[in-house]
Amino acid sequence: MYRYDEFDARIVSERVAQFRGQVNRRLSGELLEDEFKPLRLQNGVYLQLHAYMLRVAIPYGQLNGRQLRRLAVIARDYDRGYGHFTTRQNIQFNWVALKDIPDVLESLAEVEMHAIQTSGNCIRNTTSDHFAGAAKDEIMDPRPWCEIIRQWSTFHPEFAFLPRKFKIAVTGAEHDRAAIRVHDIGLHMRQRGDVVGFEVHVGGGQGRTPHLAALVNEFVPETELLDYLEAIMRVYNRFGRRDNKYKARIKILVSEIGAEEFRRLVSEEYAAQREHEKIALPPEEIARIHAYFAPPELTPASGPDAAFEALKAEDKEFARWARINLHPHKVEGHASVTISLKPVGGAAGDATDAQMMTVAHLAETYAHDDIRVSHAQNLVLPHVALKDLPAIYRELKAAGIATANESLITDMIVCPGLDYCNLANARSIPVGQAVQEVFADPDYQEDIGRLHINISGCINACGHHHVGHIGILGVDRKGEEFYQITLGGRADEKAAIGDIAGPGLKADDVPGALKRVVDTYRDLRTDKSELFIETLARLGHDPFKEALYAAD
């Protein structure tokens, strides 16, 4: 993984010192909240319902054991013993006192972490495939490019005050696990002959006006990527609306002027830039960054591992976990392990300090000191030998994080909702828990197969409800929580925005209604290999809407 050089270390520590001064001036009353707010947001500090929240950047979701241990210590010493992993592959601490935040940031800087650009109208954490560098279906590792984008976009003076926040995602596999079509810019790595390049999608996003990104360029060679991104950012910075917060994202610009005109503006800017001030990333610099992401030295196994196979035969729970939570690895005899943070009855994405310590220990002992955060709010050990899985499973089980549900119906994306968030209209976590309860039976879940339920507590869509196979949106009606259901969304290479099924439901009615929808799918699917989303596409939404609103 990338390691800070002296410049990185210096700018992060200078930023901590600067913020410490700003916090002191806020606490003395010298800075008013209106003056302080943009400063705190630039350092990842929000003021939520009942506390400050600190959002710490985890670049493209990659961590090492030392960093995760430090997050655990911060959770223990400055928070209430837990942290919340987010859909931007970051972590949030919910209860940190403002007066302590400079110390927390100083502690993070010691392990090459920070909270810079995790909020505000700037380029946020670039996200990626959580199996990057490991997945069998990967064509190219996107992480070096995420790092190059991180270095280019961090403190970029031209893009510090964009019309609105800006999110970039990169994937290097055919199967999109990074939801690139619902990002401001989504990059899909491609190869033409010997040249590596990027398919560029622009103007996707969720929130109150969801859009899928438009294909703006089929192939931008890697040496020109930053120039092209800069051209996009300049067009957005110039033409993006600043008069209306709700129309300020690049998706609105692309939609209002049309993809064709947007493409023309970018080409024009790009041509001018190439002539006068091109970045033209040198191949040696590209190679230098790639060297940080060299794959670990793994020895391919010559056949099945006896211990792994034996435990599968003898322990049904282990066999189920291995069936569901392992992802095929490039190297024979290895797998990527999903550590589910979605136990039935828990809060999606939450991990206690002790659980973080366990995962850090496992990564250091068995998994080449590499940990990922997925945008679905789980943790991943990307490089694990099958022979080590029994030992890993035992420790995960003891720590309460061996739930076998990766991509199953109980593996939901859930925003913090009204239990934490100052913007939310309704609670998300309890609704998610109630839905989990009705699908809790492991055999039932496995029979249902891959089905993504995503829940947001307001129209800002932090819980990605628009792209859930089933989406749940919490709304407030005169002080009462209601939940609107959407059907048919998906975040992968066949990305789609879900359709609203009909009137909102009361919280108590949601689990039963979803059970009827899912059981309708089980009745109507051709066989178990046809996923919910495929049956929905084949038959249309009507039978499912009927089930949703049928009386119990």
Binding site: R26, L27, G29, L32, L47, Q48, R80, D350, T352, L418
Partner: protein, 101 residues
């Protein structure tokens, strides 16, 4: 600056609530004008007095952040359209968290 919350009529009993600047914890104004973290100490104000109390809160920038009116009963109990939100601000999340989850 105050949080944008539903408007309350002058005669509606209301409390002044805010976030303690140093910690972010929820605070309410007590009858004597001091800040309290005890729900039982929430004071209800109406009319001009309420406006004066909020104006006073707005001057205490280093101590509290974003003060605003929330609806309460005459005895200071949380009520009205934002009961759920204000109850969560007072008591914390409605779900277990951390070790107790």
């Amino acid at each position: 600056m105050t949080s944008v919350r539903p408007k309350l009529k002058p005669e509606t009993p209301k409390a002044v609530t805010a976030w303690e600047t140093a910690t972010g914890q929820t605070v309410w104004m007590a009858a004597d004008g001091s800040w309290t973290k005890e729900v039982g100490q929430i004071a209800a104000f109406t009319g001009d007095e309420a406006e004066a109390r909020l104006a006073d809160a707005l001057k205490q920038e280093g101590v509290v952040t974003d003060p605003y009116f929330m609806e309460v009963t005459e005895s200071g109990g949380i009520t009205g359209r934002e009961t759920l939100r204000e109850t969560i601000r007072a008591n914390g999340p409605t779900v277990a968290y951390g070790e107790s989850a």
